[in-house]
C-alpha cells in the first residue's frame, strides 16, 4: 500500500517537475587562444561578468529576451558586442538555433554554419 503510494508519488513527481536546467541559445565558443571577458547586462540592469577560457563554451541561463547587452573583450579591448536586436537575429540564423555555435574570434562573432 505504502510502496504503491510512493511509486505513484514518484511518477507524479516526474510529471510535475524534476531538475530540468534550461540553457538558452545563442551558444558560443571561444575560438581564440586567450581568455575572453564576457559581460552580460540584463534589461533589469543586473550585470553578470565572467571569463571564458580558450575553447570554452557558453550558453545562457538567462532567457534571451531578458538580455540587454553582451560584451566580449580581450585585455579590456572590446572585440564584439551584441544587443537584444542582434541576439534576436542570431536566434533566427537557422530554423533550430541549437545547431549553430557562435564562434568568438579576434574580429568578432561568426556562426559555425552559414545562416539560412
Amino acid at each position: 500500500m505504502i510502496l504503491r503510494a510512493l511509486i505513484l508519488g514518484l511518477i507524479a513527481s516526474l510529471l510535475a517537475g524534476c531538475p530540468y536546467d534550461r540553457v538558452h541559445p545563442p551558444y558560443l565558443q571561444n575560438k581564440m587562444n586567450v581568455p575572453v571577458d564576457v559581460e552580460i547586462v540584463l534589461l533589469e540592469g543586473v550585470v553578470s561578468a565572467g571569463v571564458l577560457e580558450p575553447g570554452g563554451r557558453l550558453g545562457f541561463g538567462y532567457r534571451p529576451d531578458s538580455i540587454a547587452k553582451v560584451t566580449f573583450s580581450v585585455a579590456e579591448k572590446v572585440i564584439d558586442e551584441i544587443d537584444a536586436l542582434r541576439i534576436a537575429l542570431m536566434l533566427k540564423c537557422t530554423a533550430d538555433p541549437r545547431l549553430v555555435t557562435w564562434l568568438i574570434e579576434a574580429d568578432g562573432l561568426r556562426p559555425s554554419i552559414p545562416c539560412s
Partner: protein, 239 residues
C-alpha cells in the same frame, strides 16, 4: 534493509522518508556540531522507528533504516563541507587510511544503488534519443547522453544526465536560476547526481516540495553552489 531485517520494504521507505522530512529539525540538534552526530542518529532512529510502528511495521527495522539514512547523509554532508572537491561526492573523498577509502567507496556504491530506480528511468529516456543522434559518454558521476534531440538544457535522473542538442557538460552557463556566476553545467548536474545518491527515491518528491523548477529551489541553489566549489547539500550550515 528492512526486508533483510524481516520487515516490509515499504515500512523502511516510510521511515526513511519521514526521517528525511524531519531532517531539517534533526540536523539542528547540537547546532550541527560533529560531537552531536550520535544524538542526531539516535533522534532519526526514534523518528523512523515510530513511523514504522505507526504504519504497521517493526520499530527496530524503521529505526535501523532511518539511522542508516541519517548517518549516510551526515557523512556525505561533512565531506562536502570540509573535504576536497572530490570528497563532496559520496565515498570518494581524500582519506589516508584504507578503511576510510573502503567506507567511502561502499557509501558511493550504496548511493548509486539507492538512486538506481531514477537512473534506470533516465537511461531509458536517454537511450530513446540515440536513434536520433544522441551520444553516450561517462563523466560527472553519471552516464551522459549528449546531443539529445529534444529540449534545451540538461536534466538529471539519478546517475543519468541528458544534455539537449547544443548543450554540453563542459559548457559555462551564467544565469542558471538567476545566479549571475559563470558555472559549469556538468558540475551542476553532478551535484544533482550526488543529491540523488543521498535521497534516492525521495529526491524527486523532495525536489518538488522545495519548489520544483524555480530559482528558489534549495536543490538548484545547492547544485549551483556545488558547481562553484561548495556543498551539494541543500541545508548545509556554516560557510
Amino acid at each position: 534493509m528492512s526486508t533483510m531485517g524481516g520487515g516490509k520494504f515499504g515500512h523502511g521507505f516510510a521511515s526513511a522518508a519521514g526521517t528525511q522530512l524531519s531532517s531539517v529539525m534533526i540536523d539542528q540538534i547540537g547546532n550541527g556540531a560533529a560531537s552531536y552526530k550520535a544524538h542526531r542518529i539516535m533522534a532519526a532512529a526514534v523518528v523512523g522507528g515510530t513511523i514504522a510502528e505507526v504504519t504497521g511495521g517493526k520499530f527496530a527495522n524503521g529505526a535501523m533504516t532511518a539511522a542508516f539514512a541519517q548517518a549516510f547523509a551526515s557523512s556525505a554532508q561533512r565531506q562536502a563541507m570540509h573535504g576536497s572537491q572530490d570528497a563532496e561526492q559520496l565515498g570518494t573523498g581524500a582519506e589516508p587510511s584504507f578503511g576510510g577509502r573502503f567506507m567511502r567507496g561502499a557509501l558511493d556504491v550504496a548511493g548509486k544503488i539507492w538512486a538506481l530506480p531514477n537512473t534506470i528511468i533516465g537511461t531509458v529516456v536517454g537511450l530513446a534519443g540515440v536513434p536520433f543522434g544522441a551520444t553516450i559518454s561517462f563523466g560527472n558521476n553519471a552516464i551522459q547522453f549528449e546531443n539529445y534531440p529534444w529540449g534545451d538544457g540538461a536534466i538529471t535522473l539519478g546517475n543519468s544526465v541528458i544534455y539537449a542538442r547544443g548543450t554540453s557538460p563542459s559548457q559555462t552557463v551564467p544565469g542558471m536560476y538567476g545566479d549571475p556566476r559563470y558555472l559549469n553545467i556538468g558540475r551542476h548536474e553532478r551535484g544533482h547526481t550526488i543529491q540523488y545518491q543521498a535521497l534516492g527515491p525521495f529526491f524527486l518528491p523532495a525536489y518538488l516540495l522545495s519548489g520544483g523548477i524555480s530559482a528558489s529551489n534549495s536543490f538548484e541553489q545547492a547544485a549551483n553552489n556545488y558547481a562553484a566549489g561548495g556543498s551539494w547539500w541543500p541545508w548545509r550550515r556554516g560557510p
